[in-house]
Symmetry: D2
Subunit: 141 residues, 4 copies
């Protein structure tokens, strides 16, 4: 599954260099994960109702071209790795000429409601299997 | 009591007009309330341990002069009104020439841990009295 | 003209009380103004190309009910006052049961590209007239 | 040179998991760079006056333990690599027990005032040399 959604950069997200400040991209990644999870029928609130939490453990970003206020971008969100205790999402951001201007990656760990590490394969084998089926890899840039 | 603390505007808080974006001032107000509450011996975590919450119900801001990246400001925080169910804080922001560049006001309501309205004068008469003693008014601009 | 657009609160916009933090609403107002200006054929980038800037001078907010992560809201944006040097926008935020959970107001001043005050009625009488025609008032709550 | 400064996480920086949201750390890194550049006598505004800009090109983060509202942290900022066109800063965040809870890295490229790539060693050999002398490496975790 690839989740695609449009992001219209906000004026508040600009900085005095006249571009979108780099700290906003991780917020967009998260919006991508939310849309992805909604699309596969596992929205964040259902995750929380199941007593599951996700903690960010690693994040990386590569900035190829700047983004600008009010110039729409399309964010592609991929689930690229599903381990027993961790999962990896990757992101690619395209401008209106379909040029990839940014890529990112986040690695998350499953936690229980007390924020203790959790083995999803044991605790929810059905979810673990379902997530596995969603794995897909982005085209290379 | 007047709480005074220095704010050094962050690069991330600028926008493409080259000034600090207006959405950051409410975040600074909150930092002012946190410092105020620390200073009177009622830190936010103690408030939460007492099963109390505060909900923002009204907020207003007047922008007199812009703020700039890395140019320190001093925020004065005042508790100006203590009612049984609501309290009002006011804020004044001074530049390094002691010119007031911004004023703000926030009105908060007391809630219990289930986020239901709470009468502080009944539930915690001691706190209510103590807060009353902290009331002070800003000099006029 | 009333501009209406959907806001899906982001996880990053929540706080540890489990609701959307109050500092996000002014960012949503701005998104409302951007959409409004796009809709009347006067997008922000055209405003900037004309050598015009807008400075926030007053802002006020009333919080009626909390907003929650991933629960869509509809923001209504109105231009309620067009003066020669200032203009006022008002905002009303509705949940999916059409209940108004929040209202806001912002007053902006016109500036030139050097961020000096500007009389729009003199500098751009056509724009001034056009904006006047967009004035509309929200239903009362 | 190691720049060390205290960060007091803001309430607005929390999320509904009760911890500091991961998107705030890159903002703290930037604050670290600002303090670092102030400390070596090359503040950001001087950089901009010299017609120089810095663009973020790569960023990575590793989250070891969560951060919490109002619990002070000390951010250590290091300049670890100075190339002709790029420079790398690294960051380590310590809690009040001197435990490292987070590390980060950012790679920036020098640009001119038109946001075109710039060879600092050619354009400002003195700055290039001075920066080289500030290189230092964090203790390993």
């Amino acid at each position: 599954m690839i989740s695609k959604h449009v992001i219209v950069p906000r004026y508040q997200e600009t900085d005095q260099m006249g571009v979108i400040h780099h700290s906003n991209y991780p917020i967009w990644y998260e919006e991508g994960r939310v849309r992805f999870c909604d699309a596969i029928g596992l929205p964040f609130d259902k995750i929380e109702q199941l007593g599951l939490r996700q903690a960010m453990i690693e994040m990386s970003s590569r900035f190829v071209q700047p983004a600008y206020f009010n110039q729409p971008l399309t964010l592609h969100t991929y689930l690229t790795e599903v381990g027993k205790v961790r999962l990896t999402f990757e992101y690619a951001l395209y401008n209106d000429e379909d040029v990839c201007i940014h890529v990112g990656s986040t690695r998350l760990a499953w936690l229980d409601a007390d924020l203790k590490p959790l083995n999803l394969a044991k605790a929810h084998p059905d979810l673990y299997t379902m997530l596995h089926e969603q794995v897909e890899h982005p085209r290379k840039h």
